[in-house]
């Protein structure tokens, strides 16, 4: 899945920055935090790019920036080489047909008053189009739901079934890229495995490209062809090979924190100490420095840039783990 240098990526994020201001009022100035700071990402057709990080690392904001659901404070979003950063409202509609999203919470992502048929027809209704006949049934088939579900309401479905509806709705226009925002995070592991298998199947049969947002590095390593690790709004490591050993101490710590379903491998767990610092008061140097086991003096004062290591992999660290 390696991308050649001259190929135009289907989705490209270029130096995206997004700051949020909270609090504040008539007399008080709000505090601002940088949710995403200078993130660049190239997603080639057919790729499954995984964005991993803990809550608050900006991965969901990144997904919404890529979807053009929120505007970036700086940077560009390019789709098939075309800059769509300045597009709004009706001008975004051609993009909507090619770029779709599956949301994390299958409980609130479906309007409780709509039957599944209405949910699946909504993509067409939203653009004032009529769906081709049989589309609803085809979509239900595609995500492995019985056609008799068409008349059911979301509350009659289990979480896994609802997430299948969420996926079917995203597929309605036959998109090219689907942004998956933690589609399995609120599901049981057994249902998570079902959904991942379904997504893999759709990737194979429909030639989709995924941007997969997750907090589960084990899952991302299994599912994705390329991995981007985020910490506090910045990319700390890009792995061109999902099976490669991690170079950034944070990626290594993430890997060390995930449990293996094997009681004989217990000793390997080394939990990462401390917690993510407040995004309102970022340390001046490397954001990971306060928790890093490999921290050096310069890490606390200056910020390491994302630099190439082997092949297309990159790491932002002064003292990376040896390969």
């Amino acid at each position: 899945m390696q991308m050649t240098a001259d190929a135009v990526p289907v989705l490209e994020l270029d130096g995206l920055v997004r700051t949020f201001t909270t609090g504040g009022g008539l007399l008080r100035k709000g505090r601002s935090m940088t949710a995403v700071s200078d993130v660049s990402l190239r997603v080639a057709a057919g790729d499954i790019v995984g964005v991993v990080g803990e809550s608050g690392c900006g991965k969901s904001t990144l997904a919404r920036l890529a979807m053009r659901l929120i505007d970036p404070s700086a940077g560009r979003v390019l789709f098939e080489g075309r800059d769509v950063t300045q597009d709004h409202g009706a001008r975004l509609r051609p993009l909507r047909k090619k770029l779709q999203m599956v949301f994390q919470d299958p409980y609130s992502s479906l309007d409780p008053r709509f039957t599944l048929r209405e949910c699946l027809l909504e993509p067409f209704a939203a653009l004032g189009e009529t769906a081709p006949p049989g589309r609803v049934e085809a979509l239900l088939d595609q995500v492995g739901l019985d056609r008799s579900f068409a008349g059911a309401y979301p509350h009659q479905l289990s979480g896994g079934q609802r997430q299948r509806v969420g996926i079917a709705r995203a597929l309605a226009y036959r998109p090219e890229v689907v942004v998956l925002d933690e589609p399995t995070a609120s599901l049981d592991v057994s249902i998570q495995a079902q959904i991942i298998a379904l997504l893999q199947e759709l990737h194979r049969t429909s030639g989709l490209t995924y941007l997969f947002i997750s907090h589960d590095l084990g899952l991302v390593r299994y599912f994705c062809t390329r991995i981007v690790v985020m910490y506090l709004g910045s990319v700390v490591e890009e792995m061109a090979d999902p099976d490669a050993a991690p170079r950034h101490p944070y990626t290594a710590a993430l890997m060390g924190s995930s449990f293996v379903p094997d009681p004989t491998e217990r000793a390997q767990i080394v939990p990462l100490e401390g917690e993510i610092p407040s995004p309102f008061a970022l340390p001046p140097g490397c954001p990971f420095a306060p928790r890093c086991p490999r921290v050096q003096d310069r890490c606390r004062t200056s910020r390491p840039a994302l630099t190439q290591t082997t092949g297309a992999s990159k790491v932002a660290c002064f003292n990376p783990v040896e390969a």
């Binding site: 803990e54 809550s55 289990s158 979480g159 896994g160 079934q161 049981d188 592991v189 057994s190 249902i191 998570q192 495995a193 079902q194 959904i195 991942i196 298998a197 893999q200 907090h215 589960d216 590095l217 084990g218 899952l219 390593r221 299994y222 599912f223 099976d243 710590a253 993430l254 060390g256 924190s257 995930s258 449990f259 293996v260 379903p261 094997d262 009681p263 004989t264 491998e265 217990r266 767990i269 939990p271 990462l272 100490e273 917690e275 993510i276």
Partner: protein, 329 residues
């Protein structure tokens, strides 16, 4: 044995929700109670703490022997002295387990003042000691803070501190790490394992994630639709799972080096309570080894050689019968 549950059955109205559960946990031991949503894990926890009655549930059979006394039929007032004092409870959602308007310290103090009869000052000292033992930095400062000042992981530690405050013998933790990040989950899980060892507690860990079980449990009891599918020592269960459901649950966790497409999950979902069958294996509709026998006769739990139990007509280590084989094709 600290807690010995035998043949526990429970119903709400006419619906039997738990059907003959048996498991036990000793001091210094971690028991994993595993299953998907709807398997009856949380209800079991409520039944053990005597809270199921509030939901209109009645225990119809079985015994829950805690430290020598049977808790079934215990009066609410007696249960109240037990809950919090001898049996600690850790909930899934730390956000809703804490009162937003009361400081952390006061909430933890309450427990030790109520159950240990400590003075205000002694209770606070006790609280600070527990908080710092749970590796909460600057425990005195945190004790004066309100829940919204703390992160999710910190809040979960406070909930654990509340469960520990009265020095209980048994802790029941209902999915204590589901809402947390992986790095925080690792911290909390390792901390719980550490507590069990250092304070000689019994711990019942309720989870749907077999990798957490593998990490800290000594014994595991797999529930499916209100019945025990399989139980036994954790190493045994993981090395050679015998119930197809156990095997499938373990197979749901992605591991390094897994070939793409090899993660299949378990087809379908747990049957709704209203569709529980009596004379059948409730896992049969989702099972790759099921045959006609499984849908007409309930597999009764049989003791295995390793001190566990198994309820399956066609365990994994037996050859698949002709009928099931034909079905497969």
């Amino acid at each position: 044995m600290l807690l010995d549950v035998r043949d526990l059955s429970l119903r709400i109205g006419t619906v039997g929700l738990l059907d003959g559960l048996s498991f036990s946990v000793d001091r210094g031991e971690v028991l994993g109670l595993v299953g998907e949503s709807g398997s009856g894990k949380s209800l079991t926890a409520l039944a053990l703490t005597g809270l199921a009655a509030r939901m209109g549930a009645t225990i119809t059979a079985g015994s829950v022997v805690f430290d020598g006394t049977d808790l079934v039929g215990l009066k609410e007032s007696a249960y109240r002295r037990l809950r919090g004092k001898r049996i600690g409870f850790i909930t899934q959602n730390p956000m809703s387990a804490l009162d937003a308007l009361v400081t952390i310290g006061d909430q933890v103090d309450q427990v030790s003042r109520l159950h240990l009869g400590l003075s205000k000052r002694a209770a606070r000292a006790h609280t600070v000691e527990i908080l710092s033992r749970l590796r909460i930095p600057e425990a005195e400062v945190v004790a004066r803070a309100y829940p919204h000042n703390l992160s999710g992981g910190m809040k979960q530690r406070v909930v654990i501190a509340m469960a520990l405050a009265a020095d209980p013998d048994l802790i029941i933790a209902d999915e204590p790490t589901t809402a947390l990040d992986v790095t925080v989950q690792a911290q909390i899980v390792m901390m719980l394992a550490d507590l069990v060892r250092k304070r000689d507690l019994g711990l019942i860990l309720i989870t749907h994630d077999m990798s957490v079980v593998a990490q800290i449990c000594d014994k595991v009891c797999v529930l499916y639709a209100g019945r025990v599918a399989e139980s036994g020592p954790v190493r045994q269960i993981f090395a050679a799972p015998r119930h197809p459901y156990t095997e499938a649950l373990i197979g749901c966790i992605p591991r390094d080096g897994m070939a793409p497409g090899s993660l299949r999950g378990i087809p379908g979902t747990v049957a709704a309570v209203s569709q529980y069958g009596a004379d059948c294996c409730r896992f049969a509709p989702r099972c790759c080894r099921a045959d006609a026998l499984c849908s007409t006769q309930q597999p009764l739990p049989v003791a295995t050689g390793t001190g566990g139990m198994l309820a399956c007509h066609h365990p994994v280590d037996t050859p698949v019968t002709e009928a099931a084989d034909a079905d497969d094709r």
